[in-house]
Symmetry: C3
Subunit: 136 residues, 3 copies
């Protein structure tokens, strides 16, 4: 297991981590190998998925979360006098894990399909993503 460190701005920030994950594969010297790579973001206010990474679609995805899980009053705020109840609900819905295949050392994804970290917290964060490679 390796740890990938990613700085985010929080507040629905979407980071394309496809190249970072491919680099982990490259350094692992798996050129002729196939298998899966499991990603899991540490913490309960961020999630992982894939998207066609382009600014307009990113905005659509962000607005979707703002609409169905708006900022505002959450019971969670009574627990810590915090303001990120919506961040937690969004993250638990999107889930922290993603497991994708690689073949001949390369991620198997569509041309318009990128792996993203989405940070729902209400402030800038230094995130850690656990990366585990399993050969076929």
């Amino acid at each position: 297991m390796q740890t990938l460190k990613i700085h985010t701005k929080g507040n629905n920030d979407i980071i394309n981590i496809t190249e970072n994950i491919q680099e982990v594969l490259n350094k692992s010297n798996l050129k002729a190998k196939s298998g899966i790579i499991n990603l899991c973001v540490i913490g309960s206010t961020a999630g992982l998925t894939t998207i066609e990474y382009e600014p307009n679609l990113n905005k659509d995805f962000q607005e979707f979360f703002n609409k169905i899980i708006p900022e505002g009053d959450y019971h969670h705020h009574e627990t810590w006098h915090d303001d990120n109840g919506h961040s937690h609900v969004r993250a638990s819905l999107l889930k922290p894990d993603l497991t994708v295949p690689f073949q001949d050392g390369k991620l198997v994804l569509g041309t318009w399909q990128q792996i993203i970290l989405m940070d729902f917290d209400t402030r800038s964060r230094d995130r850690e993503i656990a990366v585990t490679i399993l050969k076929e």
Copy 2:
């Protein structure tokens, strides 16, 4: 890694791929073996999950996506003069991957639990699902 090809009608089409995945296991000669099977659909307008596959519930699941992520205006349409912004948002929410166990060469699922590919694109598509088997 193998590739499973599935033809869809797009527009929320739900395809039961449970038997296709079981066939991949059968052909891999894993009768006495256990492990996991990772599925990942290539592309950014389709997703995978499980459901009790029956026409009425499929309709409920489709109507749910129509309601919370309706067709209409999306920023993404400005990028490609396309019409499938809602397809992308739905797919990124549902996510492209699913990892399920098998035991003695058989998928471990409930009687009323089927693996489905859901295609959110606005047209018919020939989909590819990457299938990777890992023995315990």
Copy 3:
């Protein structure tokens, strides 16, 4: 593959299964080992994710599902004269699987990040979660 049995109250019941999963790792004698652990709940009216497990946030997450997928009329009820259409839609959205890493025999999670089983069915259930460990 092992099976973890969990009793739930249904109706959005959220169960913290982090310690149960850590116990499975402990009994597998993997103290110096790393890898991934795949969890998959059998059945089509429950799901898995991570959350900061505390009563107020649990309530927020439950209310979110009540809001976007309310109880009421579903086409599925015509099939079985049942009442749990919303349970199925919620479960298919949250998905049945979760794959998380472990290092030196310990689950790699944030301090405020717990693994939960969420049971959406309309009655008490005895759930089975398939647990598969794969070493790196």
